[in-house]
């Protein structure tokens, strides 16, 4: 347990620096983009010089960049994410409203790609080089090569428009007043297509990794030893070969969480899921700097926490990890 604690301490200290860099970097990047929130706003409304000046003043955009960054950081120290220019609401509320949807989508998609991916990987890796291995490898690579938005649209056309088995988008039935289990089932139905679109694409990674790890393990001496001991084939595959190939997948899980956040931007738009990814895209288009900073901050914290959990799990799973630090 002490190894996990040491890891935790090191990570928290490191994370604060990472977050500072992320915030300042994002702020400068968005400042470098031409046009500000008022420019983005008047696209839909137009307006005369006086009105535009008034808006810049009201939204604090007539202050210097440094002043705005300092104000933002000062508020952040007090755990205040500020006010969204586009929504005229506190950013904390806007994000809290959307975060569960993205977490649900990402979590389910990760579970799908990790679970199904590693299972299929075991199936393929049980007999490397066999016909089923080749078929699965090619199939999963083809899926991986498909652009996310296109795969999503394909799913919509087939399952929502033609077969009408599943809803076309959204997170739940509109204004349905459902509660409790009914609502949970409703949300689950709505998640099937977006989760498939996001999950099936990343499935290939886990499948390939599992398969490659197992192919490698088959050549190891200890596997030869299990064969010599006359263990049953399923037992060798599951308890010895697959188990050894599993560790890198756990690392991958952590890395993938960041990728999934990126992928959710597209999938959330295609399936009209009100999540963080879509919000980020809207924040960029509207030049809503504080909102985007808030989203990136939350995402960064999310990725850091997931990776921390992965590291802890890793340390617990593999006695070699963190042994040095514990000794030092």
């Amino acid at each position: 347990m002490s190894r996990a604690l040491i890891l935790l301490r090191r990570r928290v200290v490191g994370s604060i620096f990472v977050l500072m860099i992320v915030i300042i970097g994002t702020f400068l990047l968005l400042e470098a983009a031409p046009g500000d929130a008022v420019d983005a706003y008047v696209v839909a409304t137009g307006g005369d010089a006086g009105m535009i000046e008034l808006l810049r003043h009201r939204w604090g955009l007539d202050q210097s960049e440094l002043t705005r960054l300092a104000t933002y950081l000062w508020a952040l120290l007090h755990l205040d994410l500020g006010q969204s220019v586009t929504f005229s609401r506190p950013i904390r509320d806007v994000i809290v409203e959307r975060l569960p949807n993205t977490l649900l989508l990402m979590g389910s998609a990760t579970a799908l790609s990790f679970g199904l991916g590693s299972l299929l990987g075991i199936y393929a890796g049980a007999r490397p080089g066999s016909a089923r291995d080749r078929l699965l490898s090619i199939g999963s690579l083809a899926l991986y090569a498909v652009p996310g938005f296109w795969f999503g649209l394909l799913l919509i056309v087939v399952f929502a428009v033609n077969l009408r088995w599943l809803p076309i988008g959204g997170i739940e039935t509109l204004a349905s007043d459902k509660t409790g289990l009914d609502r949970a089932a409703d949300i689950a139905t709505h998640l099937v297509l977006p989760v498939s679109a996001l999950g099936f694409i990343y499935l290939a990674l886990y499948l390939r990794m599992m398969r490659a790890g197992m192919a490698e393990a088959w050549r190891q001496d200890f596997v030869l030893a299990t064969l010599a001991r006359g263990l049953s084939r399923p037992r060798i595959v599951l308890a010895h070969v697959a188990r050894n190939a599993l560790l890198p997948l756990v690392t991958m899980l952590g890395l993938q969480s960041a990728q999934m956040l990126g992928g959710s931007v597209v999938v959330e738009s295609v399936f009209s899921v009100p999540g963080l990814g879509r919000l980020a895209q809207e924040a960029v288009a509207a030049r809503d700097t504080p909102l985007l900073l808030g989203i990136i901050l939350v995402s960064a914290v999310l990725v850091i926490v997931i990776n921390l959990l992965v590291d802890i799990a890793y340390a617990l799973l593999d006695p070699r990890v963190g042994a040095n630090e514990a000794g030092a």
């Binding site: 031409p34 929130a37 137009g46 307006g47 005369d48 010089a49 929504f87 005229s88 919000l279 509207a286």
Partner: protein
């Protein structure tokens, strides 16, 4: 069934059929409207402020026009193209210094308070004039609003103001909000800006960000038996392709404002149970315009501008970029405007040889590489069609030896580059014609506008004769004389080409055949929908 779905070919068949259908409203083939039901439709954006009195824009009207009403609405049949809403009559004084509105009797706000002339006075003086994006210009000389009784409002102007302009501005600029709600606190921060309270047929229900807006029936609406619908739900569908799929899957019943891309219309018009409607947007005409930076010495030369006008094949643009859902333009007023349009202006036929000759004459000979000079071309990113026309224009200019380099920006960056930084040579813009040239059209060519004002002359164009003409029209009170001045305005713009008008287009609605009373006024998508109904 298919007899009512309008195919593209039929639309192209000519204006005769369109005129015929205008004379026989679509409601003609339906029986008496049914009561009840929930209309679900696509919305592609979520406006930050839903108060149409502050933000007079189509995105806001689309939702809030059902909740907050204007003094008058546009109409196909009504006198001067208007139908009464909160005002029953309007009359301008001969001296142009006052306009008298008689208001509707027995109208109640959604919170039960009576609607009176005090609300009109408050909206006009405290919101339209100082805060509204368009009202700040049109109502700039409004000095006072007198309320001799609770149903009469008299607008008093400091300077003579053409009654024609005020009349034409009514449908978009005269949203009335309740004084008793807005007189407390700062108007810009009022919670009613996000949950509007009005007099309209529908009340604001709820808003789930990223998901939907819900409007519910106003049982105390002044219109007899209206509204027919129980509920309107705007489903937020940010992806361009979702509206068509949602219509096909019967999850929504209506997609307005061309939420279904033009390229999909041909296919979707063949889906049983769906109809494609190109009517109901005549009052919201967008103009495809080439904006010109006259600071570039080549472009300051009229011959070069004429050459560019000759290089553009307008028919091809209408056919290829707009797939026929547009009309070619002759000048700064669209052809479908009933009051001001004149065809009697200099024309620029598609003629590459003539364009080349004009450029030679202007002294810009082709270099050894076949190029005369290089320009930056910035197409506005707001519509697919403005971007596609940018690609077309680049090729059209290449044919006359002008090397146009495309600069693609997102919306905010485009606005900054063109209207603040002037970092363009040519730009493609979609200004809106709002029923009167003085609202948002003359500003496109007038000089003396500070930099940073979007959709205005930021190309450094200055023409004293044109400025004088615009100034004269703005103070001409007689409607006929004023109309003549704007006809002259069109002639001068087409002759001197401060900008080049290429095409005019509007939007398309796609709806299930069960939705009745669609497109029965020229601003239908942004009108109150009191008479819209569902058959089943």
């Amino acid at each position: 069934m298919s007899g009512f779905t309008i195919s593209r070919r039929k639309l192209l068949a000519g204006s005769a059929m369109l005129l015929a259908s205008a004379a026989m409203p679509i409601s003609g083939w339906t029986q008496t409207p049914k009561k009840g039901g929930r209309l679900v439709l696509a919305a592609d954006s979520e406006p930050r402020n839903l108060n149409p009195a502050i933000v007079a824009s189509n995105g806001v009207f689309f939702i809030s026009s059902k909740i907050v009403e204007t003094l008058a609405e546009a109409s196909y049949e009504g006198k001067d193209g208007l139908a009464p809403r909160l005002a029953l009559s309007w009359e301008g004084a001969a001296d142009g210094l006052s306009v008298t509105f008689k208001l509707r009797v027995g109208v109640k706000w959604h919170d039960g308070q009576p609607f009176t002339s005090a609300d009109v006075a408050f909206s006009a003086l405290q919101i339209w004039k100082p805060l509204q994006n368009l009202g700040r210009t049109v109502f700039k000389d409004l000095a006072a609003v007198e309320t001799p009784d609770s149903l009469t409002a008299v607008f008093k102007f400091a300077k003579p103001t053409p009654f024609q302009l005020i009349r034409n501005a009514l449908p978009a600029l005269s949203s009335v909000v309740p004084k008793h709600i807005y007189e407390i606190g700062k108007i810009e921060d009022n919670p009613a800006n996000n949950a509007p309270i009005g007099t309209g047929p529908f009340k604001f229900g709820e808003y789930k960000p990223g998901q939907y807006y819900r409007l519910t029936k106003n049982n105390d609406y002044w219109g007899k038996d209206e509204p027919y619908l129980d509920e309107i739900i705007y489903q937020v569908l940010p992806d361009r392709t979702s509206a068509a799929s949602a219509l096909e899957a019967e999850e929504i019943q209506l997609a307005a404002f061309s939420a279904v891309p033009l390229a999909d219309l041909d296919r979707i018009s063949k889906v049983p149970g769906l109809k494609v409607i190109s009517k109901g947007y005549e009052g919201l005409t967008y103009q495809l315009v080439v904006e010109i930076n006259h600071r570039r010495k080549e472009l300051a030369d009229l011959k070069v501008r004429q050459a560019i006008a000759h290089a553009i094949d307008k028919d091809f643009v209408v056919k290829t970029v707009f797939l026929g859902y547009a009309a070619t333009a002759t000048g700064p007023v669209p052809k479908n405007d009933p009051q001001f349009y004149t065809a009697d202006v200099p024309n620029y036929a598609f003629d590459v040889a003539k364009a080349n000759a004009l450029l030679d004459e202007a002294g810009y000979k082709k270099g050894p590489d076949g190029k005369r000079f290089t320009l930056r071309l910035l197409p506005a990113p707001y519509f697919n069609e403005t971007k596609q026309f940018g690609d077309y224009l680049r090729q059209a200019l290449a044919a006359i030896g002008i090397d146009a380099q495309l600069v693609n920006n997102d919306s905010a960056a485009h606005i900054k580059a063109v209207y603040t930084d002037h970092a363009f040579d040519l730009a493609v813009g979609p200004p809106v014609f709002r029923g009167d040239p003085a609202i948002s059209t003359t500003i496109l060519v007038q000089s003396g506008i500070p930099s940073g004002v979007p959709f205005s002359n930021q190309g450094g164009y200055k023409n004293d004769a044109l400025d004088a003409l615009i100034a004269k029209a703005s103070e001409t009170l007689d409607s006929a004389a004023r109309t003549d001045l704007y006809k002259e305005f069109q002639k001068q713009v087409a002759a001197d080409l401060p900008l080049i008008n290429v095409a005019e287009w509007s939007f398309i609605s796609v709806a299930r055949e069960t939705v009745g009373n669609i497109a029965n006024n020229p601003r239908w998508a942004v009108s109150n929908w009191a008479d819209t109904y569902l058959e089943s």
